[in-house]
């Protein structure tokens, strides 16, 4: 059983190959980590899966259906939600209204969307900030807001781009717990993450990228021992003695 299948994805920007022949699969309910140094093509991969950019080659299928040529909003309605590495809240709208946009995907009833949004905000611990404008929230709160917004679309697959990036150390355990909670609600998660401790705690499987290519795909413990991952990303100190 496969929820998401990425097959032979290639994306060039001019002379730069951002993604080269990337293939991997995500099963329903799985939690997959994506790691790799800056410029490895992680965010480009998310953009290709969600239809923000079109690949030069390769296919993305969801439940066996080819979604490669679909628009971002169509892919979202098929149950794929995402967060952005560079946060993109609707600044002039309240936190509640931000989340309602996601909830309104599945209902035209504004009242019902408001209740669903309140629930989603509560589930990320932002209930008391519901009526604050998004621009007034801290970075950590905005991260939670993006999670709530994505969650409100009731995704089957949730792509998280650096949930712990740019937040202070103290906030990280809370965010990890939150990602676990979200996962427990059923959707499959693909998580881009730089913090190795975080990814080792969360991921059931890890896909490692380097210079746009998949260099390893396996259990977290295997990935830690993988010579190419150590060379490209982890560094000598991670090499088992």
């Amino acid at each position: 059983m496969t929820l998401l299948a990425v097959a032979g994805l290639t994306k060039r920007f001019g002379g730069i190959v951002a993604n080269r022949d990337i293939s991997f699969e995500v099963r329903p309910g799985e939690l997959v980590g994506v790691i790799g140094p800056n410029g490895a093509g992680k965010s480009t991969l998310f953009d290709l899966i969600t239809g923000v950019t079109r690949p030069d080659d390769g296919r993305v299928t969801l439940d066996g259906r080819d979604i490669t040529a679909l628009r971002p909003d169509q892919i979202s309605r098929l149950g794929v939600a995402r967060t952005f590495q560079k946060l993109r809240p609707f600044h002039q709208m309240t936190a509640l209204e931000n989340v309602m946009i996601g909830a309104l995907q599945s209902t035209a009833d504004v009242g019902a969307a408001r209740r669903a949004a309140e629930e989603a905000l509560a589930s990320v611990g932002l209930a008391e900030r519901a009526h604050a404008h998004a621009r007034a929230l801290s970075t950590g709160q905005r991260k939670r807001l993006e999670l709530a917004r994505a969650l409100a679309t009731r995704p089957r697959l949730l792509l998280l781009d650096e949930v712990t990036g740019g937040v202070d150390q103290g906030a990280i355990p809370g965010l990890i717990r939150l990602v676990r909670d979200l996962h427990a609600r059923g959707p499959a998660l693909v998580v881009i993450e730089h913090n190795m401790q975080v990814i080792m705690e969360l991921a059931q499987r890890i896909v490692a990228l380097q210079l746009g290519e998949v260099i390893a795909d396996g259990q977290p413990a295997e990935i830690l021992r993988h010579p190419r991952v150590i060379d490209a990303y982890l560094g000598e100190s991670w090499r088992p003695a």
Binding site: D73, S76, R77, A81, F90, Q92, I101, Q105, R149
Partner: protein, 324 residues
């Protein structure tokens, strides 16, 4: 403020009703043409700016070509009188329908552009349409069209020479329609989608908002309401030409009215019209023909002041006082 507690819901209901009563009684009290004309212009520009606000204020697509839809409304009803002796009321609906079709055709190319580029493209579209009409002899060309005068006054003919009071209530009706449509959109799913697109269209799309479709809806509603105003203008002035109903200056004025009052708010465009129209009509009356440039000077100064000190518009001022 304790006393204001129970008073506030009462006031919130009473004040609009009182205002509406005052507006309804106005033409009974003021029987001279000028004050009525002034109010008619406030209603008309209020309606046009409110219509513009749906596309630009809520959906964030700053159009500087709305005179196109105004002109389509004016020309459609006037040409239908000439060609088919059709009542301007039906011509008004036809004008709105053609404006909707036109808006969709314009939307396909220009909605691909963002921000300033979108605004510039709408200016270009407006200029092209005006140039086309100037060279379209069948539609009167640069000489324009007269609405044939018919007496006595009749509702079917949309002509009222005896008194401006009927125009007053028709213009008020257009304004209330524009405000009502805005209010309805504001509270609906579509209104939320519009605002999300204004804030960040990629993020909106990632949440399932069909960005192109919503923009096309916004411009369709906005264009239809603007075209109604165009027909009203033709039946009020009885003469239209490309210079009076298709000019860039009209597109800009509609934008200025809304910006002054407050974009993206229900009442902002009307507040802007209530301030700018008396200024413009007043300078014209009190200073004669030489006043034409002066009102623009004052507009310019006002816009600079608003942009620097109160980007939310005059409506934003009320919020500022409420908070303190």
């Amino acid at each position: 403020m304790a006393a204001a507690g129970p008073l506030r819901p009462f006031l919130a209901r009473a004040v609009p009703l009182l205002l509406l009563g005052a507006v309804a009684a106005f033409p009974l009290v003021f029987t001279k043409p000028f004050p009525r004309h002034l109010m008619i212009m406030i209603f008309l520009y209020g309606a046009l700016a409110t219509a513009w606000n749906i596309l630009a204020g809520y959906c964030g697509q700053i159009s500087l070509g709305h005179a196109v839809f105004f002109g389509i409304g004016a020309y459609t009803s006037t040409l239908l009188i000439r060609e088919a002796a059709l009542s301007p009321w039906l011509g008004m609906l036809a004008g709105a329908a053609i404006a909707v079709v036109g808006s969709q055709l314009i939307g396909y190319p220009v909605f691909r552009l963002r921000g300033h580029y979108f605004a510039i493209a709408t200016i270009a579209v407006g200029e092209i349409i005006q140039a086309l009409v100037i060279n379209w002899d069948w539609a009167g060309g640069a000489r324009g069209l007269f609405v044939p005068i018919k007496r006595p006054d009749s509702f079917v003919n949309f002509q009222f020479h005896e008194s401006k009071a009927v125009y007053y209530f028709i213009a008020l009706g257009l304004l209330l329609l524009a405000l009502g449509v805005t209010r309805w959109i504001e509270g609906s799913r579509r209104g939320y989608f519009f605002r999300a697109i204004r804030e960040d269209q990629e993020a909106a799309a990632s949440l399932g908002v069909h960005v192109a479709r919503e923009k096309h809806w916004a411009i369709a509603v906005s264009a239809a309401l603007t075209a109604l105003g165009g027909t009203f203008y033709a039946q009020y002035v009885f003469f239209i030409d490309p210079e009076s109903v298709f000019p860039l200056s009209l597109s800009i004025l509609i934008c200025l009215v809304a910006v002054l009052g407050g974009v993206g708010t229900l009442w902002g465009p009307l507040v802007g019209a209530a301030v700018l129209v008396p200024l413009s009509e007043g300078t014209r009356v009190w200073l004669g023909g030489g006043g034409k440039a002066l009102d623009l000077l004052i507009y310019g100064a006002l816009i600079v002041l608003i942009a620097v000190f109160q980007p939310g518009g005059l409506v934003g001022l009320a919020g500022r006082f409420r908070r303190t």
